[in-house]
């Protein structure tokens, strides 16, 4: 079996899931009355990583020929040199983060032959995407630069052992339009940095973190925007403005915001994360009752770095969240809730602790374990350059 055959297989699988993605998103847009802009292929820089990507392809080929059940430590470790080289290249961060995440799961599952069940859908997804990314395509050029006011809806946090991404959803108001946008900052980490400590890795973006923690608007000047609606965050091109209530943004501004198109390669149901405002529901532990319909709550996507808990969501009456699709069903991933706890109104957002935990109990627990980031940076400073 040659690489080309496997690439064709990955392409076919991605096309199938892309079609599912499109159908689901169209249905969701219809329900939400959301207008979506059309995709325009952006310009791309030169592809400069042929050797490295060839290394990725050969590991992925080996993986496919071996099969999940045959994966052992040696096969997983053989990706290490490629991974190390990928991480050193900012333009290849997507591939690096993806392969590192997959390799860590395979390593923790070794020997896979002894597993009772294999996460077949998931690993095939990750393998497919990695094969497509390893086909190469230069770095995407921004479609335009934008200036205006960014009203934050909430932040979605993604994390595996060696990476954390804070992806902010918001509405960008420019002179003539309101657009639904995202902006993301990703930091490398290690598995022992968990919970609220992950924010300490993102302190290089103080304006953005301050706006999340303080629930402030952001004034942007000449910020690059990709064709898929992602702002390339430059902290020095932003300043914090007035306080802004994400619930008001979701109620008033979100309905008239135009949603961005989805880049062709990203079309997969797992990438659907559409901001919505839900209210007038009755919450239970795992579900919301809304207009006679039951909607699942994705409690598995409540991050340990923020104040939202399943109990708080279950006590909530209003929610800004992301609509998600997985395992054949829709679910809402809460980003912010308003709840009544002990007869008092409470509001919590996933980004509330972006400058450090506001909850004294959590702050105390953090103080007990010490500053993991500082400890490891000290060790790195002393030992890496010894």
């Amino acid at each position: 079996m040659a690489e080309e055959h496997l690439a064709a297989l990955a392409g076919g699988r991605a096309a199938l899931f892309g079609a599912v993605h499109d159908a689901l998103l169209a249905r969701l847009d219809g329900c939400a009355g959301r207008e979506r802009a059309e995709w325009r292929e952006p310009g791309r820089g030169e592809d400069t990583a042929a050797n490295l990507l060839a290394g990725c392809r050969s590991w992925l080929t080996e993986l496919a020929i071996t099969g999940w059940r045959g994966v052992d430590h040696d096969l997983v470790s053989s990706a290490d040199p490629t991974l190390e080289a990928l991480l050193a290249r900012p333009a290849l961060r997507r591939q690096a983060v993806l392969l590192d995440g997959l390799a860590a799961e395979l390593r923790a599952s070794c020997p896979v032959a002894t597993l009772e069940r294999v996460p077949a859908r998931r690993w095939a997804d990750l393998w497919t995407r990695a094969v497509l990314l390893a086909r190469g395509a230069g770095e995407e050029e921004p479609a335009e630069t934008v200036s205006g006011r960014l009203l934050v809806l909430g932040v979605d946090v993604h994390e595996h052992g060696t990476a954390v991404q804070a992806q902010v959803h918001g509405v960008l108001e420019t002179r003539d339009a309101a657009r639904l946008v995202r902006t993301s900052v990703t930091a490398a980490k290690v598995d022992t940095i968990v919970g609220p400590a992950v924010w300490r890795l993102l302190t290089g973006h103080p304006v953005l973190m301050g706006a999340l923690a303080g629930r402030l608007t952001l004034n942007l000047k000449d910020m690059p925007l990709l064709a898929g609606g992602d702002l390339l965050w430059h902290d020095d091109r932003a300043s914090a403005g007035e306080p802004a209530d994400p619930f008001a943004t979701a109620r008033v501004v979100l309905p008239r915001a135009v949603a961005p198109p989805v880049p062709p390669l990203d079309r997969h149901p797992v990438r659907i994360a559409e901001p919505v405002l839900l209210e007038g529901y009755k919450a239970r532990r795992e579900t919301l009752e809304l207009d006679g319909t039951t909607l699942a709550i994705d409690t598995g996507r409540l991050p340990a770095c923020g104040p939202l808990t399943p109990a708080l969501v279950a006590a909530s009456t209003e929610c800004v969240g992301l609509m998600r699709w997985d395992g054949g069903r829709w679910a809402v991933q809460p980003l912010a809730v308003r709840a009544t706890v002990k007869k008092k109104p409470v509001e919590a957002h996933t980004g509330d602790w972006a400058l450090g935990p506001a909850d004294p109990k959590i702050a105390k627990a953090e103080a007990r374990t010490g500053d993991a980031v500082a400890v490891l940076r000290e060790r790195a400073g002393r030992l890496l350059r010894a």
Partner: protein, 170 residues
């Protein structure tokens, strides 16, 4: 109309059918000052323990799965002076921190050891001192630390949607 929660059989075979299912449980927070690095890899519980007296010195300690033989030496391969036929204080610290990070069950399963109620992990690891090369583990530790020097990225990483942050307190 959006489908409700009832039409997916998510519990039974979630692991096989879901895209964003969690495969590796997150590490539990622990103090890193004494034992900055612990891993279950290469058939060993292995890690790095900072020296109490010299900031530049670290000990590389390990227990082998199955045999429970143990080793401890400095990163320059000088044997640990505290190793007299039973685990030294570095090895005890390594075992204790591994239990904090991964939970007793996962560590015991990896090392193939039965730990009864009231027992500590290290009291059940009754192997013998063995010679193991510190270099490989130490270089894995340096690679681990090097992650903290990778610059942040601001281009989106859509692949991270497969890796949701989770673990909010109940």
């Amino acid at each position: 109309m959006i489908d409700g929660a009832d039409d997916g059989d998510v519990d039974g075979d979630a692991l096989e059918r879901r895209s964003a299912v969690r495969v590796v449980p997150p590490a539990r927070p622990r103090k890193l000052a004494k034992v900055p690095f612990v891993e279950l890899a290469d058939g060993r519980l292995q890690g790095v323990v900072s020296s109490g007296s010299d900031l530049r010195r670290v000990y590389v300690s390990s227990f082998t799965a199955g045999t429970h033989d143990f080793s401890c030496s400095t990163n320059n391969n000088r044997p640990c002076g505290g190793l007299y036929g039973r685990p030294c204080k570095h090895l005890v610290a390594l075992a204790n921190e591994a239990v904090v990070q991964y939970g007793l069950e996962r560590v015991a399963r990896y090392l193939r050891v039965e730990v009864g109620e009231g027992d500590t992990l290290v009291s059940r690891l009754q192997g013998q001192a063995e010679q193991a090369t510190a270099a490989a583990v130490f270089s894995r530790f340096l690679r681990h630390l090097a992650y903290l020097e990778v610059p942040d990225a601001v281009a989106p990483v859509p692949e991270m949607h497969w890796f949701p942050a989770s673990g909010a307190a109940v």
